[in-house]
Point group: C2
Chain length 193, copies 2
């Protein structure tokens, strides 16, 4: 086939391509990235819902004589759940932004480390709040408080259980954000395409 | 220089090298690897000492009328500290083996994931035991138990504090073993040389 080339030096110069070429992504890769982003959004939304419910249940737990703010462990559960709910709401917004605009809110290097660091710290905080709350709830039951005002104890148990569910979703988010940090460290991008 | 080569085809064949050549490591890299291994060993040893002390303080906390095994939160602290101490002792042995023989106890892929997974799980367990114990110790102080038998409460506080110190060392070990997992995933070796 090379013998058909013009041998007199008159060859067509190749036409220059478009100046701003978008990076090439195959359709399969873009679908995969979209799916991972949607799973991340689902985990964030789960953490937000459960933590918000835990915070509301604990903050509203003051109908009878004992109130949540009299006990340090219940204060810890209420405040930790509130913080996790606020953080998860921010991360839901960041995930929606990322799905809609295909870019992160902060620069990518800051975003992946911000997500992973906060996921880890808040997961530890959420778990220790749940453990402290559960230990204190057991003590309340063994003392006479729950026989006097059973609704208070049941509402506390529900709040602590919801807080543990929030921790599970936050832990799953932490796994995925850890995966993004590793991908960013290896490939220079949060998702290897 | 090429003109000095013999042109009549009579050239020396290169002598074959030794059959089992050790992989090349520069002296600086070997020193770095040794230093990381020693830091890891120090963290493991710290986790072992503090967890063992926490377990001993809690298990021996039954001089007076209230005993540690009457309270669920203190049982959790005692058992969790004991488990962390046993695991840390095993890991101290594995670290010493690795420094002495320059190879891991299990195959490398299993070892790095074993270390990281157990570090994470036991760090979460240790922290929740500490949080539950601290919440319960606060309750004991607010009830009349500590005025009746103050030594019991003080010994509990010391045990819980030692457990938290063990958690800090275990968390630091978890950071380093996470680094080893990432290095293994990227370079196929737990330490990039």
């Amino acid at each position: 086939m090379r013998s058909h080339q013009p041998r007199n030096g008159v060859v067509d110069t190749p036409s220059p391509g478009p100046r701003f070429q978008p990076p090439f992504h195959s359709t399969v890769s873009v679908q995969k990235l979209r799916r991972v982003n949607l799973i991340m959004l689902a985990f964030r939304f789960g953490a937000f819902c459960f933590s918000l419910a835990a915070a509301i249940f604990m903050f509203s737990n003051s109908s009878g004589s004992p109130s949540w703010h009299e006990f340090g462990a219940f204060r810890f559960v209420a405040v930790a759940s509130g913080i996790v709910a606020a953080y998860s709401l921010f991360e839901v917004g960041a995930s929606v932004w990322e799905i809609a605009r295909a870019t992160t809110v902060f620069p990518e290097a800051i975003q992946v480390w911000f997500d992973f660091g906060h996921d880890q710290v808040f997961a530890y905080m959420s778990l220790s709040a749940g453990a402290a709350g559960a230990a204190f709830a057991r003590t309340l039951r063994s003392s006479g408080t729950c026989t006097d005002n059973n609704a208070f104890c049941i509402q506390s148990y529900i709040s602590i259980g919801l807080g543990f569910a929030g921790f599970v979703f936050l832990g799953l988010s932490s796994l995925l954000s850890g995966y993004r940090v590793v991908c960013f460290a290896i490939y220079g991008s949060r998702y290897p395409l």
